[in-house]
Assembly symmetry: C2
Homo-oligomer: 341 residues x 2
Amino acid sequence: MSDENNSEEYYKSYENLDVHHLMLSDKPRTLAYRTAILNAKDKFVDKVVMDVGAGTGILSMFCAQAGAKKVYAVEASIIAELIPDVAKENNFEDKIEVIQKRVENIAADEIEKVDIIVSEWMGFYLLHEGMMDSVIIARDRFLKQDGLIFPDTAKIYAAPCQLPSVHEFWDDVYGVKMRSVASQYIKAKIKPDVLDLPQEDLLGDGVLLVWLDLNTIDSEDLNSLGIEESISICNKAGNYQGFCIWFDVDFPDGSTLSTSPSSESTHWKQTIIVMPGTIKVEEKEPVAFNLKFDRNSEDCRKYNLSFTQLDPEEVSHPIPCDCYMTKCIVTKAFLESQKQE
Amino acid sequence: MSDENNSEEYYKSYENLDVHHLMLSDKPRTLAYRTAILNAKDKFVDKVVMDVGAGTGILSMFCAQAGAKKVYAVEASIIAELIPDVAKENNFEDKIEVIQKRVENIAADEIEKVDIIVSEWMGFYLLHEGMMDSVIIARDRFLKQDGLIFPDTAKIYAAPCQLPSVHEFWDDVYGVKMRSVASQYIKAKIKPDVLDLPQEDLLGDGVLLVWLDLNTIDSEDLNSLGIEESISICNKAGNYQGFCIWFDVDFPDGSTLSTSPSSESTHWKQTIIVMPGTIKVEEKEPVAFNLKFDRNSEDCRKYNLSFTQLDPEEVSHPIPCDCYMTKCIVTKAFLESQKQE
């Protein structure tokens, strides 16, 4: 399935320790895993765990701290060679077994079955260069019946937003008008941006576009994701200039790692689709869209995002719906009167 | 002198409008030029100006706002095509003349001589991929006798610093010891880092290493810069783990754009040389070093930085010197007693 050349590059790029330093320095990310694992000590004590894509081994150490009997730290890159020393420093050398292989290359009978899989596999907007496929393979090959996966659900959300730094920025650049540059600048924004969107630039709540249950999902389910017709209701008036995409993952203990604009910033930031123009929206205005994620046929670690604006008149709304359209106001009033009777 | 292939790449990379957005969004940078130019209105009124590497034309517009009669906006990349529209938006179409060429390719008799040159040519640690050579050519070919250059001086400073995010970070990574990773991480840091150093991590004042007068300097003077033997006196106790390098430029009106850790952050940040170990230093301890910048023989837009720690006992100290060494305390006391008499 995977293009071998692209994979090689992927594993080489992780040899760069700066990337691991960046990921470890991402406090909401690393602490979310620590909290979820240490919260669930009762589930880890005396259990066998597999850490898929262990990197420097931080999650493996958290699992050992939580009482795991044994942790297979699976890491294909040269970084794997650092893990035994880390284990030793933390007095876990008897618990951690490093396997310097891609999980795809470990035979089913090579190691024992595991009670828990932990993995930090998420990429930009969850899917980009993500390694959920490896987690699925690990699950199917090594996880015991009723075993646990940390995290076990993943969700992608999107919401309309305003982008003043992309659009209005050019109106007055320290006293100079540059609208003519703006149009070229926005035209060139064909690829999504990755940035921290200020929370106040969100125009609506996140609409759930993708909901993945890692206990049951298959690789083929990941080929095409998204929803044909979605509706977001603006919760304030503003300049609708793009869509903001983020993801959350949930752990078996009930805790969540969120990369939304209202959560503490992570290295994933948010992924932004820039629209070519500005649409003035009002509070309660419905915004309809089609947002799809399709696997790139050349490189299965990448996705093509496609975004289409739809006419909110021609899309079916939820029932009840909070938008300002007459049919929704009437439906909602009717439902409320029924409830009172 | 310049490798043509490298130059081509350089001009192409500026076609990316994201880079211009980033530079315009750098408020201390852009406002420093605006302030310096508008402060010096008396020098701009009815004068002819050349903007070397004009980009989107922002500095050209500031010059026109300051009253310039004519501004030659010299920009080799395709971005030049945007400048006439920007000029029009600001009603300066009669003042701005765009020349879509490298300044090196404009013949001396092609345009009139200019009263003022403005240019934002600085790169990381001033010199990296900088274009001071182009400013020197513009000066020699087009600037009138006694003409002005904005900015007209440039200085590089360096100071010892502590780097807790590089060194101590690994001591306790959310409850996990990772000192064994630290040594590999630091070993891999052969190239300087570019980051915003927290001001409190500076261990001494900046030592002036390079002082360039743009009115008189020649390209050959830029081949090798730095000082054989420098001394920095620590102004507090700490972990000496690296050197922090930054630059300032001064404008003819007396204003300064500083990229020091104590100034507002810019896109240049600071350049950090990471030392392999930690040296505990005390207040008033002298730190001696050799820091040199030599042009890369393959690519004249790049420099090789070389850093050597020296023995403060074997380096001549300034007189008087504030360090704690006996000879300096004695010399200083003697000089002070002389002054009192």
